[in-house]
């Protein structure tokens, strides 16, 4: 039985090998990418994939039919760490010079470690866990900002509005806890009293006990970090229990998604959230990018993950061009170190600071859900220098709306 | 005295399933246990072998074994079969018996050899590698006995190992049990084929409604009016 199993296994493996390597001899410049197209995190993969596609098309259109064409080798990690590693290996074996690395911190970290050991440069697109660029792996670069930035932009608002106390609620995922830690640090720095601090486990989300606890302490601001399903539930329940702070602040993730508004309806109004990118940003070509991303997503609203995916491809292509090779990993690595590229997402430059290594600095945007023309939508408000719209403050009590 | 039970009582809920039953057993003796359905014979077996909670006292060669859990008894030399034979269906005949012989052998090879010897003794050697689920009833009965014998018991409780067999198989089994007793094992057996129990037993105990109603040689029992009543049904009072 065993032997039959082995024979079957061997032939199947051979089949995968042939299938995946069959196209390796073309003249296109290859960029590897891993994201979650299936499984529990597939939604983020969909966004990133749209960004990738838009960027590749843009690059190839610019090069024209005579110029060298780029090709994206996209692998699915299926939301599973072992499968992600198998995918990374497949790309490494496919002689790819640079790999774009996806969203979920726990999957990304294992891949980043593996890829640095294989000496393959990899660009992290959206994973926000601080520890990815903190341990200082070589060959690891990150486009998206560290979580400090999420907290910083919101605390700027706190300072401007004179908020003195806050309560914070975060999920126990790596990203949420990272933002939570940054927020607590900022609170200390800015002298904001923390009157409540709770972590919840993912799953059946009944936030009422926590929100009631917050309500009793009457904080000026409530700082929330969570994914989409949680962001919706927490705002609905905040309304239900009658929690009335002067400001609800969301630390990106679920609060920055369009589904946050559709899901929580009127409960989402006045909520301020940090985000890494908005279409209103006056970066070059941003309006155009937005339109292309909407098209690539089949009409649905793009999130910052899509814009980050877009930028990552451009950064990789830029490094390949400057390295003069799509396969020479050392040359590409060197080129990435000296990246200085303005994209529609943001300006990209990998720096070492505050213990981070090869980390891009992006200042975050804050947006507020406001009713415009009877429709609730995200309105970017911070940094004030970039946008015209004003923060609506303080948030009216639920029964006064 | 090889084995002795005093004043055994078993209670299920409010029902007295066994009431004040005592028995003794000598080396090499066959003690027959009879009684109509529901008289409590099997319950008594279960009580004596530790499977059912009881009050009273049980002694093996003077040692008190009343409160030992069932899995301690085989090591001391008390083995039993089950009324509905319960081999480990998915295992082969040899494997079934090997499990038992591990009680006395620590080494796998020795256990296997001991099991083979036991199988030869009960005439199942040629079926050693067959799965139990494929054995016919007579062979399953023999396997059940082989499993108990491989424990090298001094006291053996046999629960209806003959009923259901065809006459030649019955005769074989009777001879075999006699041989066991001759080798010095004390045997307590429940059986409802009277002919068998009467010809095989040295002594017979008759139970009815959970109580011992008669005890004696097969001849005495056969003539005891209480036994007749128990079987034919109570007389009016």
């Amino acid at each position: 039985m065993k032997k039959i199993g082995a024979v079957v296994g061997v032939s199947l493996l051979a089949a995968i090998g042939v299938a995946s390597l069959g196209s390796a001899q073309n003249a296109t410049l290859k960029i590897g990418a891993i994201t979650t197209l299936t499984g529990r995190l597939a939604e983020f993969g969909r966004q990133q994939k749209a960004g990738f596609t838009v960027a590749i098309n843009e690059l190839n259109a610019k090069a024209g039919s005579k110029g060298q064409q780029f090709e994206l080798l996209l692998e699915d990690s299926a939301s599973d760490v072992n499968k992600g590693l198998a995918a990374a290996e497949k790309l490494v074996n496919g002689n790819v010079g640079v790999i774009l690395n996806e969203y979920s911190s726990s999957i990304v970290k294992a891949q980043a470690q593996y890829l640095s050991r294989q000496k393959v440069p990899n660009i992290i697109v959206s994973a926000s866990d601080e520890s990815i660029t903190k341990p200082g792996f070589d060959y690891v670069y990150r486009i998206n900002p560290p979580t400090d930035e999420y907290a910083k932009v919101l605390f700027q608002i706190f300072t401007d509005t004179g908020i003195k106390s806050m309560a914070i609620l975060a999920g126990n995922g790596a990203f949420e806890k990272s933002v939570q830690a940054s927020a607590l640090e900022q609170a200390k720095l800015k002298n904001v009293e923390v009157v409540g601090n709770q972590v919840y486990d993912k799953g059946l989300t009944d936030f009422r006990p926590i929100l009631n606890g917050f309500k009793a302490r009457n904080p000026d601001a409530v700082f929330l970090v969570g994914y989409q399903e949680d962001s919706v539930a927490v705002m609905r329940q905040a309304k239900e229990v009658g929690l009335n702070p002067k400001l609800f602040a969301g630390g990106a993730a679920g609060f920055a998604l369009p589904e946050f508004i559709t899901g929580s309806g009127s409960a989402s109004e006045y909520v301020v959230t940090a985000t890494a990118w908005v279409p209103e940003l006056k970066t070059p070509g941003n309006k155009n990018l937005y339109i292309k991303l909407v098209n690539a997503l089949g009409g649905s609203e793009p999130t910052y993950h899509a814009a980050q995916g877009y930028a990552a491809v451009l950064v990789a292509a830029d490094a390949i061009k400057r390295a003069g090779s799509a396969t020479d990993r050392e040359a590409i690595n060197k080129a990435l170190l000296s990246t200085d590229l303005q994209t529609s997402y943001a300006k990209i430059k990998f720096e070492n600071f505050e213990g981070y290594k090869n980390q891009n600095r992006v200042s975050m945007v804050a947006e507020q859900v406001q009713k415009i023309g009877g429709r609730l939508q995200f309105v970017p408000i911070y940094p004030r220098s970039l946008f015209d719209a004003k923060l609506l403050f303080p948030t009216p009590a639920w029964d006064k709306r | 005295m090889l084995f002795e039970a005093n004043q055994i009582n078993v209670q299920f809920g409010g029902v007295k399933a066994v009431h004040n039953v005592s028995l003794t057993l000598q080396r090499g003796e066959i003690l027959g246990l009879i009684g109509p359905n529901g008289a409590g014979k099997t319950t008594l077996f279960n009580a004596l072998t530790g499977f059912v909670a009881k009050t009273g006292q049980v002694q093996l060669e003077g040692r008190d074994i009343t409160n030992l859990p069932p899995f301690e008894l085989p090591r001391l030399g008390v083995a039993r079969t089950f009324q509905v034979e319960r081999p480990f269906e998915d295992l082969t005949v040899l494997e079934n018996v090997t499990i038992s012989s591990f009680l006395r052998q620590t080494n796998a090879k020795a256990a296997r050899n001991a099991a083979l010897t036991t199988l030869e003794r009960v005439g199942l050697l040629d079926r050693a590698n067959q799965k139990c689920s494929e054995l016919n009833l007579a062979r399953r009965r023999r396997l059940e006995i082989a499993k108990a014998l491989a424990l090298e018991p001094r006291v053996l409780f046999l629960d209806e190992v003959i009923a259901g067999l065809n006459p030649p198989a019955q005769a074989e089994m009777i001879e075999f049990i006699r041989g066991l007793a001759k080798s010095g094992i004390g045997i307590v057996m429940v059986e409802h084929i009277m002919k068998v129990i009467m010809s095989l037993s040295d002594r017979v105990i008759c139970m009815a409604f959970g109580e011992k109603i008669a005890e004696g040689t097969p001849q005495q029992i056969a003539q005891d009016p209480a036994v007749l009543d128990a079987y034919l049904g109570g007389i009016d009072d």
């Binding site: - | 109509p36 084929i193 002919k195 049904g233 109570g234 009016d236």
Partner: protein, 240 residues
């Protein structure tokens, strides 16, 4: 006696469990409104025959006729529909249901649903003790009372024949007599009953006719009265 078609007839019945044959060439007839006993010692095959008649197992050979119609191989719940009621060994009551509900379960099938009320009254009239305790859980009643429920439940299905499997099993001697009296009085309801029992004295006292089995074979049959004096019966029981 059998001036008309017998209600139940068993012809040349062989039954085996796997490779073990337990009933050999059994022949038996139960006439209308007869109370017939089927007796024998432990393992004589009497309950096995009853199980074959009630559809719980399939005979190896032979036929079972209900009013001339072959019924072997029909499933128990279909047989119930044909008017065969079974008072099973161990009673098989629903312990956490009330006495009344247990009785009502007997009228589960359509054929007996219509007259459920009247039948319930009849059963209560027959067993006044059950009427007293109709609200109690069946599991809380005594063994004898539980046997009455089992019988009452069978009556609820308006049976053409009642099969009873060892109703005395596990009951104290006094209660056995009481149950036997109940069975005896069933004849006032003009029922046909096949009673399987090991308690031969009691059975022979209350039945019209009886069949005595030993080791799966018919030893003797005949009018119950006087059968007890027959040595064959004693032999069948004590094997002496």
């Amino acid at each position: 006696m059998t001036n008309q078609l017998p209600l139940l007839e068993v012809r040349d019945l062989d039954i085996a469990y796997g490779d073990v044959q337990v009933v050999f060439a059994m022949n038996m007839v139960v006439g209308q409104q007869e109370l017939v006993g089927l007796v024998g010692g432990n393992g004589s095959g009497k309950s096995t025959i009853l199980r074959a008649v009630s559809g719980m197992l399939k005979p190896k050979r032979g036929s079972i006729l209900l009013q001339g119609q072959e019924i072997s191989g029909i499933s128990p719940h279909q047989l119930t529909d044909l008017g065969v009621a079974h008072v099973p060994m161990g009673r098989q009551l629903f312990p956490a249901m009330s006495v009344e509900e247990n009785l009502e379960m007997g009228a589960y099938l359509k054929r007996s649903k219509a007259n459920k009320k009247q039948n319930l009254e009849k059963v209560y009239a027959f067993f006044p003790r059950l009427l007293e305790k109709r609200k109690l859980f069946a599991g809380s009643l005594s063994g004898g009372e539980q046997q009455m429920i089992a019988i009452g439940r069978a009556l609820m299905s308006e049976p053409t024949i009642l099969l009873m499997d060892e109703p005395s099993l596990g009951l104290a001697p006094k209660v056995v007599q009481e149950v036997m009296q109940v069975i005896h009085s069933l004849r006032t309801l003009h029922l046909t009953v096949l009673l399987v029992e090991q308690n031969v004295r009691q059975v022979l006292k209350i039945t019209d006719r009886a069949y005595v089995l030993e080791h799966g074979k018919l030893v003797i049959e005949g009018q119950s009265q006087g059968l007890l004096e027959n040595d064959a019966v004693k032999r069948a029981y004590l094997g002496l």
